[in-house]
Symmetry: C2
Subunit: 768 residues, 2 copies
């Protein structure tokens, strides 16, 4: 495998292609789950808790039932859901005797119309006894803190670790974990104390990152329809069709083959749609014996969705006089709300995974509080911990009087370095990204910025996920190709999968249709997420297309009386090399293989794939900012993202994904945060209050791609989705440091926080 | 390949299994196309012609448009259908300037409700000029007959020949064909005149068979829905999903990938649902830009469906003194109504295909008349011609003083005899069927019947169809199996396909689900019909299951550290042979191959199949009847059907299919006929008038299976569906002869016809 792939070799792959889902989205013709209507469909509206923690004495639904158009009012006891444990949020969609977060659903009104359901909601009366609220990790970790959950809640949800392949060791901590700690992981190598004793400089700091919301345009949406034979079909906006199928079947105690998941067009997900309301909606439909549609209002999605966890990272890192890192010690706290399930293991992968450090000791704690449960959000755990590491590295390089990129280049991991899971790092492009960034004019002229401006850099990465996948590739009667997968498209992957098949089969992309099929008949694909979608499903599509090509050549070989190896397939035609007159079209082959009395087997390729090597993706970002020292306002003037993508199958799409990721990273850095008061009430629970960027706030983003091909991904491709969101926080805060000389260790770097730091002259704690 | 298969070797195949579609049909839960409702759906109701032939001067829709709830009234000029030729019925669903059969649709009213549409139909006024009507073949073939179609209409519709693989030679007839003949085929071998000169006895007769209707319970039904991106989805009761897809795409000039055909549960088809109203309904939805449902009323289905053609066969057959057949000469006339397209080639396959005859000359004519176009009906062409042949053979054996079965056994074709297509006959079970029948107590005691009773026998056959097919076989998370195909289930084939996969994979049938997928993503399957469904699709399923099994054993081999050949798969578990403790379940294999980080490829088998050898199916029938010589009424007292099925995958289903086929054959023999008057008006256009049997009219039917395995069908299976309908007419009329000594040469043998024959003492024309 060479280090570069010559795009000239490809006719389709590597060339910009329009997204096939684009037109319907632009014209508004695309129908999302919330647009679907079925005959007899009921509208579900939620009665939610006004308290973060309270005992429910009674729920009076009698008045609600009198509202015209109200079909049923359902409380927890009515739901035919098999119980697992009270920690399973999917299995406990309605509070029973106790509410444990603000906005928690307590009852649901099913109405013939949405208006009727809403009128019904107003007539449901809940009698509460408010209880004390654990509203922060600080509160939760106090020795005398009350238990957030009545019984112990250890062990993460299975899907919490799904975004990356993590092997963790939970060693004996030698002390009793605080009772509100629901998960604990300890990563350790070497001897940190001896490491720190070798250090010429040590940086120590505590970094704080906020709880933020995925802020997909389309809220959580699901439509469940009971079907004949005791089945149920869900039309749902999910990244995880097969998981949804298993979860619904298990929750409703139904055979798997009675549950069909149809993934509707997804209006954004970013990790937040890994099965949340599907078992709930299915249960409602089962009770009602009619189709039920549940679409969260924006405020419900903010208060009762599954946003990203916030974190606090206490980090200490030291370097020897020769510039090598000698030790890293960290305590990481992720706030998981009222339900266990953060991507805790990622903390170790990031903190000990970007740079070679012989001695590390990283302890990670997941902490329960009275807030909504959390979920995945693009590279879950990585923006949090990368903010800490890359802020500290910046400070350490400065403390050592080293060039900020050279210092990173000296220490960054390369192929063969041992990862936290004990395995050697495969060939990655981290070094190349930084080298390319170091040649950028902005970096070369970093000392010539105007007063009040500064340039900062940071790196970020993502280990990449793995999951087996299958695909088929069918020749159609018109000579075109249909590829099937079971994938959910959250990133334009459908278009890219089509490019892969088109490239293999020598076709232009308009001749390939990719059908993402429902779970009843789809080739298996895992959930879309973790930057593994194209990497793994694309590999299956590649094999399916290659299989179809072989079948095509075999039929052509018989028809043209030539050896398959003497044939070439291009533009819908198989020709004998060098004998242009001897050819047969795909349409002719289709006619001979899919017709009455046909003597050839249909062309129907199949690809099964199980890649077992990760392809970690890395990126290096640069920002030029201007800081208004009077107001603390930060303006991003330039932003550069250099990312190793292995091979950009559809460069236009890869650029788009990186633009989106960078923008979300700037949200982490500068704007977004979910703010709860001491009562556990979300006080910015609407998009009027929650500071999601608008387009003018997004700077011009320059994207440069590095292509270090992965050995296993299709045409060398790697995952692209997660890395670009990762370095935003550190990049911006490092640029602020360059502009102002003060260290911001809590994001978002909102004006009042920046101004306060400038006034106090906030610095890193450095020991020499 | 041995001649028998020991069913004890099989755990699932060969054992009676309940039909998976049975419960929904029994409880009424199953939803047919006509039960489906979509939001915004319009109801289509037809304005039909009261004349069989007339000029349309004008259509006044103005009053209809005033009816509340009428959305649109559509006439031919409004339909966005690409024209081919006026002979294409699919492309001309509405009459333009001229109506050419009674009941022909002229306009369609789209209503918000069915009632509104019907009210609208009453307010559409058509101004006609009646024209002369060609109401029978006799009329059509008169030299001065008017042209049924304004321009010549030669060449059969492509699907007319789809029920069997026929290679025909249309030689120069040496004379100008009558202008209302739309197709002509000539089968010839040897010299018939010299053959007849060798004959010791010659039988000559003209046989007449009626036009009858398939009489499926569910009439023609289709629901078309415009979808986003300019697509269309059809929910339709069709045997031919992929043909429907091609036809709709071509008719509406749409790309193939924009047309999705979802086959709904089929309430009977029997050949009558090979794409009729699909392009029409799709065009209506395209004009309306809303979903449109068109469900024929029973009377519309009888007058404007595509029933079975009637026939007239002039047959002359001679045998030498040694009992061998010396010559056969025939003229066959099939009435095709106003649209070309009968299974004309089958006439030769039958007449020269049951018995060895060195010299034959068979001329077949397809004749146009002013009646509705015809379609396929279970073994199209075979019941008609078999009635002629098996009546004549009965007479010939009697003329030669030969035992009726011995004479047939002496002459019947066996493996290696040359078929009309010039190829040798494969191993068939015709002889075995007759040998088995000859041992039946009813036959052995045939001379001991009561006065007025008689026992008749006849044989029948079907060449069997061929078409390539694909299938997939997926392991699911619960350790169960999902098989996918693109097949339409008209015969319980879904259950049988599941048995095939279950057998291969060592599972009980409840662990296998068969999904028949829509055309957008299904593995290819041809139309269901021609007794080729299980034979060809089953072969693909078998291969897909074998492929999945191999994948399962490979994964188990790795997990159990054993060679695949040392493993056995049974009851959801792979074990090392002889080491019961070493095993892994399918569920465990699923967990390791379809999960985050899984290191095995998903188990996803694929089968592509293209069987190139037909497996003709034969049957021998016996009936004991009692004839009331006063009234001419015929009562069927006993009926025995012995059929070679190759291998009965699901014996219960095979018995059921034979019961159904025999019953329909008795309909041909005794009850059914579509009766038109001289004006071309169907005078028994309802099930009050059309004599479809009711259950008490069906005798007890004894079914005996012969299993001469086919080399290519799954587990040796052959097609089962067509043969049992074939011999009914001759079996009954031969029994009537045995009872009364008179020959009935026109079916149905209704009482007035039988009584007339008894009074006239009707005999065969025999020359010695």
């Amino acid at each position: 495998m060479t280090d570069t792939i010559n795009s000239d070799l490809f006719k389709v792959v590597g060339h910009d292609a329009l997204r096939k889902d684009g037109e319907g989205k632009l014209t508004g013709e695309t129908r999302f789950a919330g647009d679907l209507v079925l005959p007899g469909m009921l509208h579900a509206r939620l009665v939610t808790s006004r308290y973060a923690h309270a005992r429910i004495n009674s729920i009076d639904i009698s008045e609600a039932l009198k509202v015209p158009g109200v079909f049923k009012v359902i409380i927890a006891a009515d739901l035919p859901i098999v119980q697992e444990s009270s920690e399973s949020r999917r299995r406990n969609p309605l509070a029973k005797d106790e509410v444990i977060f603000y906005g928690q659903p307590i009852a649901v009104v099913l109405g013939e119309t949405e208006a009727a359901a809403l009128d019904g909601v107003d007539q449901v009366f809940v009698d509460y006894d408010p209880l004390p609220v654990v509203s922060s990790m600080e509160e939760a970790l106090k020795p005398n803190a009350m238990n957030v959950r009545s019984r112990e809640a250890h062990g993460a949800d299975a899907d919490a670790q799904m975004h990356a392949t993590v092997e963790t060791k939970d060693q004996d901590v030698g002390f009793k974990l605080p009772h509100n700690v629901s998960n604990h992981i300890h990563f350790k190598r070497g001897d940190v104390e001896s490491g720190f004793s070798e250090a010429a400089a040590i940086v120590e700091n505590t970094y704080t990152v906020p709880m933020i919301h995925q802020s997909y345009i389309e809220p959580q949406s699901c439509l469940a329809e009971p079907t004949t034979g005791g089945g149920i079909t869900l039309y749902t906006s999910t990244q995880a069709a097969f998981i949804a199928r298993q979860e619904v079947a298990a929750a409703l105690n139904m055979p798997l083959n009675k549950v069909k998941i149809v993934v509707t067009t997804i209006g954004g997900a970013f990790g937040g749609k890994f099965v949340l309301i599907e078992p709930f909606t299915a249960a409602l439909a089962k009770v009602a014996r009619r189709p039920v549609r549940l679409v969260f209002y924006r405020m419900e999605d903010l208060t009762a969705g599954n946003p990203s966890f916030n974190g606090k990272i206490e980090l200490k890192i030291g370097a020897r006089a020769n510039g090598t890192l000698s030790a890293l010690k960290a305590k990481v706290y992720f706030e998981t709300g009222a339900y266990p399930g953060t991507a805790l293991g990622i903390a170790g992968i990031v903190l000990a995974g970007y740079y070679r450090v012989d001695n590390f000791d990283i302890e990670c704690f997941e902490v329960l509080t009275h807030k909504t449960g959390v979920g995945a959000y693009r590279a879950p755990g990585s923006p949090q911990t990368t903010f800490a590491l890359e802020s500290a590295i910046d400070a350490l390089a400065r403390a050592m009087n080293r060039d900020l990129l050279e210092f990173r280049l000296q220490n960054c991991i390369i192929e063969g370095d041992i990862m936290v899971n004990g395995k050697p790092m495969p060939r990655i492009g981290l070094k190349e990204c930084m080298e390319q960034l170091s040649k950028h004019p902005l970096w070369l002229n970093r000392d010539k910025v105007a007063p009040g401006e500064g340039i900062g850099v940071a790196i970020g990465g993502w280990p990449g996920g793995l999951e087996p996948a299958s695909s088929t590739c069918r020749l159609d009667h018109d000579g075109n190709i249909t590829v099937t997968t079971g994938v959910a498209d959250i990133s334009g992957v459908t278009t890219s999968l089509g490019l892969i098949a088109a490239e293999v089969l020598g076709l232009q992309t308009e001749h390939v249709t990719v059908e993402n099929v429902d779970t009843s008949s789809a080739p298996y694909a895992g959930a879309s997420g973790g930057s593994k979608t194209l990497y793994t499903v694309g590999a299956a599509v590649l094999k399916a297309a290659q299989d179809a090509k072989e079948q095509i050549l075999n039929i052509a070989s018989s028809l043209l009386e030539a050896n398959p190896q003497d044939l070439e397939l291009q533009d819908g035609k198989v020709s004998v090399k060098g004998v242009t007159s001897k050819s047969v079209t795909l349409k002719e082959i289709a006619a001979k293989s899919m017709s009455f009395g046909g003597r050839f087997e249909p062309v129907f390729g199949r690809g099964n794939s199980a890649i077992v090597r990760n392809a970690p993706g890395f990126t290096a970002h640069l920002a030029r900012v201007r800081v208004d020292s009077e107001t603390g306002e930060v303006e991003v003037l330039d932003y550069v993202a250099v990312q190793d993508v292995g091979k950009a199958i559809n460069p236009a799409e890869v650029h788009g994904q990186i633009h989106g990721g960078v923008t979300q990273g700037l949200g982490w850095a500068l704007y977004e945060q979910m703010v709860y008061d001491e009562e556990g009430t979300l006080i910015n629970g609407s998009l009027m209050d929650y500071a999601l960027q608008s387009a003018p706030q997004v700077p011009n983003i320059e994207v440069q791609l590095i292509e270090i091909p992965s050995p296993d991904g299709p045409f060398g491709a790697k995952g692209v989705g997660e890395p670009p969101i990762v370095p935003g926080g550190a990049t911006i805060c490092n640029a602020i440091y360059a502009a102002t000389g003060v260290r911001i260790n809590e994001i978002p770097a909102v004006p009042e926080r920046v101004r306060a730091a400038i006034i106090s002259g906030a610095q890193d704690k450095i020991t020499h």
